[in-house]
Symmetry: C2
Subunit: 799 residues, 2 copies
Amino acid sequence: MANITKKVSWSSRADESGATGEGTPLLNGSEQPRHSRQLSEGRSIFQIGRLSTVDLEEEITSEEDSLRGRPKEIPHNEKLLSLKFESLDYDNIENQLFLEEERRMSYMGFRCLEISRWVVCGLIGFLTGLIACFIDIAVEELAGFKYQVVKENIEKFTEVGGLSISLILWAVLNSAIVMIGAIIVAFFEPIAAGSGIPQIKCYLNGVKIPRVVRLKTLVVKVCGVICSVVGGLAVGKEGPMIHSGAVVAAGVSQGRSTSLKRDFKIFEYFRRDTEKRDFVSAGAAAGVSAAFGAPVGGVLFSLEEGASFWNQMLTWRIFFASMISTFTLNFFLSIYHNKTGDLSSPGLINFGRFESDSVAYNLYEIPLFIAMGAIGGLLGALFNVLNYWLTIFRIRYVHRPCLQVMEAMLVAAVTATVSFTMIYFSNDCQPLGPEHTEEYPLQLFCADGEYNSMATAFFNTPERSVRSLFHNQPDTYNPLTLGLFTLTYFFLACWTYGLAVSAGVFIPSLLIGAAWGRLFGRLLAAITSSGSIWADPGKYALIGAAAQLGGIVRMTLSLTVIMVEATGNVTYGLPIMLVLMTAKIVGDYFVEGLYDIHIKLQSVPFLHWEAPATSHWLTAREVMSSPVTCLNRIEKVGTIVDTLSNTSTNHNGFPVVVQVTGSDEPAKLCGLILRSQLIVLLKHKVFVELARSRLTQRKLQLKDFRDAYPRFPPIQSIHVSQDERECMMDLTEFMNATPYTVPQETSLPRVFKLFRALGLRHLVVVDDENRVVGLVTRKDLARYHLGKHGLEELQLAQT
Amino acid sequence: MANITKKVSWSSRADESGATGEGTPLLNGSEQPRHSRQLSEGRSIFQIGRLSTVDLEEEITSEEDSLRGRPKEIPHNEKLLSLKFESLDYDNIENQLFLEEERRMSYMGFRCLEISRWVVCGLIGFLTGLIACFIDIAVEELAGFKYQVVKENIEKFTEVGGLSISLILWAVLNSAIVMIGAIIVAFFEPIAAGSGIPQIKCYLNGVKIPRVVRLKTLVVKVCGVICSVVGGLAVGKEGPMIHSGAVVAAGVSQGRSTSLKRDFKIFEYFRRDTEKRDFVSAGAAAGVSAAFGAPVGGVLFSLEEGASFWNQMLTWRIFFASMISTFTLNFFLSIYHNKTGDLSSPGLINFGRFESDSVAYNLYEIPLFIAMGAIGGLLGALFNVLNYWLTIFRIRYVHRPCLQVMEAMLVAAVTATVSFTMIYFSNDCQPLGPEHTEEYPLQLFCADGEYNSMATAFFNTPERSVRSLFHNQPDTYNPLTLGLFTLTYFFLACWTYGLAVSAGVFIPSLLIGAAWGRLFGRLLAAITSSGSIWADPGKYALIGAAAQLGGIVRMTLSLTVIMVEATGNVTYGLPIMLVLMTAKIVGDYFVEGLYDIHIKLQSVPFLHWEAPATSHWLTAREVMSSPVTCLNRIEKVGTIVDTLSNTSTNHNGFPVVVQVTGSDEPAKLCGLILRSQLIVLLKHKVFVELARSRLTQRKLQLKDFRDAYPRFPPIQSIHVSQDERECMMDLTEFMNATPYTVPQETSLPRVFKLFRALGLRHLVVVDDENRVVGLVTRKDLARYHLGKHGLEELQLAQT
């Protein structure tokens, strides 16, 4: 058997293709010249700045410190693609071991698996609901306590003067609470910062973001979000729920916790990327569902962000997890609110009831809604641009954990101060209604029986403020209050997003939008002979909220459904959709959505839905990485170890080739094997000694691979002796014998579609003799994107 | 140049593989023996009863009469797969012409295309909404007129005796109206019978059901459904809306009407299966949306039934079409109801308002709901089994159009008679409330100020009856009325579905379920000290309706969302979901869903979501069809004509191979060409004469292919002279140069996934030298399914 590692060195690319031309004349030779000229031109254009295009391992290098944000390691250039991110493998590795297991399994076995999938989804929903419930109750109790203390203090000092003491108390309280949240995030788990939605988007897209679905991340996230919301920052607790649900799902579905070192020996079948992804989708959906009381919206969110292949049973399971999650949350909250068993109240944020009769809309309001959508798009784009600059600044200068904590504290103090100032100088007094909708009405300098209206917006959890803006009586806020509130909250929210605290941007966006939407409604009512029913400010507040949120996050279908479910009124579907659509179109004209900006700033190789429209002139030949390191089917252990240890070309997938003994024909592709598999093989010393003493290779089970999943050790940790290096390794059983292949002439959109629809990680490019000529990876495809001046190519960097 | 048609004849399969073994020794030769033994065993088992596995053309043979239902041509065996159905090609044919066009197109060109897609979707939504509006108003007016006439007649004869005359009047009126509907369906367009949902499911799945998206079908469908509903059959007008929407979409998106022979020369880019499918999805969604006022449900319906590849922009466009459709319907209905501009009223069927306060559910009701789901599943299975037998009977004995019309008239008369009898013998009198919710209250033998309660259910359009069952006061119906109504309506509906009239099964199912659900609720209230708020009969009617509908059609996510949207109350999400899930599980234990039964009875090669669970031991080698008729890249016209004319092996896709001149190496795969493309080439005489007089091949444009789409002429209609037969044809420009291929060892689930995810029609199986060994088509995959005793193989038949 031939046991030479075949390395098609690309420095001899021209030679090789020349040789091909001679040895086995190309069959469609007549066209070859034109083609290759065209292609080599394409290549020369695109080779500028391309460092290396192989799929890199990052865990080995610098997992720990790359996350803490040392300045040189975080790229601050969105024209760069990082090589540090590994990909996930959403295509089953159909090797002999796998096929044998599947063939052994009876029909009943598959039924049991299916049932356990449902059980896992039920558990995911239940636990996610519990977590949401815990966050909600903790925030309610702690925030209630805080506002009570501050309110009493303010009331005390309103009479005697010296309200500055109240201000200091408020600011110090906020800063202290936020400090706790910032410390655990910045020092213990930086990945828990922010809403987690960009990270989950990347995970579902197929990019392995390190540590994103670990138990520690969950704990930090939950505690962090409680601190941020209680600390009075301009944040919401909804975004983090999505991340929390995903972590729960990744944990439960694996039947073990690597962090706690407990293996329950269940659900072992699910220990691979394909299955885990499905559960993480369910978890994310359960999170959305718990956050907004929107089970359908949750499913759509998961699908919109993640699933490329729609599967009826999978979707149905995801929906089940979502339903259980809302249900659990509602049930426990109903106990908490002393209405045990009343399951009709929705998720964490509740927009309250919109009665269709009172706020029906009319045909001639549609243009107004569209105009509001445009405003939302503009304001959203402004928000995103400001936040983009801020993030660049943070990446450059605020990268040390202690600086991050201090910035968070500063923001908390400023938020309290600004709020206090606004309340102090506001003279918008409103009569205290009989229904007491305000939880903490501040009288301040108002007459008895009245309360300060500005305080309703600022001196409250953001969720309550949103609800007041939607439902309070038309004349609750005067226009000045609304305008000032919009302005200050806009900048506060923009400053807050991206801090090293765990917090979401949904609620602040809604709040900003609701404020200017209400203002819009009031102005409209004033213009058109005030008092006309159709210019109900609550309705305009809702539309404004949708417009602002849409302008910032640019989600489409799922956001429409989430909004509709949160309002509990199907009637608003069309206006909300039109508004979101307008906001997206207007916003996209200027800048991308907030999540996409942050994904780009992390240089994540994110694959969009389709290849760029104008990329048909690119083919697999230009896109693929080469040279490709190939392995023989029966390969020397030393060669494998050397290949894996080569840090300069840290490949993750290796085509396996086979060469006929004694023949000088080039080797043909016969399979594909992953680095992780080779590592497991090396760890278990699955060698064949040539000196016949240990001829039989140790039999490896799928279980060995599953036990090692997902944290495969680095090659450096595996010791291979000099004797062992001389042994051979038979890869036949372990390699995927039927990898997907494409010919070199395949157009980029076609390659892209194959990649995206099947969730591939590696795609082998072969010539017409079935010889390996290249390998397409996620990064090779993610490099091409549509810029302002047509197709652009991103550079790859080892950041 | 080699110009021999390469026909790998399978009688020489053994020889050939032997030759392969000699000529170019297989590289993984060591394993070959075990493999091939295993495989040949598999093959021998599976070859029983397999007639031929090639993708057949049906338009040529018997499109006209196969539809009219001659007994021998309609299979009545669900263990058979018909070969008469062509497949659709949801994978772009990336030939040189296509790529050149795409490469020529600028970024602005793609933007314009995108905008026109949106415009088309808007148009689809608008027209679908208009059609729904037309149907609704026509039904309202005509049914109102009919019931008024009958009511006056009954009132006249109640006093003087001789109600039998009223009965006759009623029965004759119904029969006459139904006769019109049945005649147009049975004689003019049989494909318009039924709800059309199975047909649209098949279309979106990738099966070309002849004539299903034609204008004539739409006209017949619309008129037919009006007649059926006005004729008092136990049917609904909702199912046909989905079909109507799909036809509108298929028409609008092509920018021309083949039936009307009008070509508007617009949207020419969309004239291919891929694009058309997307629009048909949007049309189906718009139909659902108009029918139930459920835009999100519509999108989910389309996705659940059709889309295998989820694309954000596509989904968003589908949603847009749905929204526009509901909006249009609401707007025009608001004008019709003299409430112009009030857009808050939902679709065709309106479940009325469920106030959360009055009908909130509680934790301990969940088991009751699940029990109701089980009942729904049982009753649904019974319904389906009865209808299955009835359909078999109809296929065998009621296949002539005139018989079909007579059966429809009989059912109409029986329906009227049964209704009349039930009303006549019912003594359930209820006081006429002040709000007059009944449109046509019949006093009959009741006291003054009272009305006959049975008449509310029977003497009304089914939509109104559903609403009364949901919302009337708890004591409106007595239990006997409800029980009898359930019983009679169950059998009537079961008899009606499958008649040669165009009508849906949604509303009758809802009605049956609502009746027994209400009965359930009343009994429950009676058991648990009557008057307790939680056993509100309306709530149980809703749950019963969901259970019954779920038990019959077995839809999951989309049905949940449709029900939730139609009730306009998100709170019911969880119970409805649990009920539908239970109904599906219980029902699936006995028999498949109604639509699937009808699809199977038509022997349609329908692909499910995933390959059967236990099919991992099958590989492409066993599944593929062979021999494969291959063509040379430069082929003799005569050979092509002969190949296409061969009626015994009516292939639709041909791998194109290339052989090196003078070499004896076997030919390698270099492309794939479709029958339809060859037909166009022959029609345009794109020949190269060898005698150099006409050396240059006529240049063909993509436009020529688009103009011929989708009704390509049969080969028989193309005259090729003897001289021309000697010419050559260069396929290089027209073939898809990069078809997807798999090696022979690929497992069935892997092949299936590739097929399903990419919407393929042909998949070429190659050996490791890139030579064609087989072709996998939709029918090859659809043959395998899970039966009671594990994996079963369906037979293929030329029915």
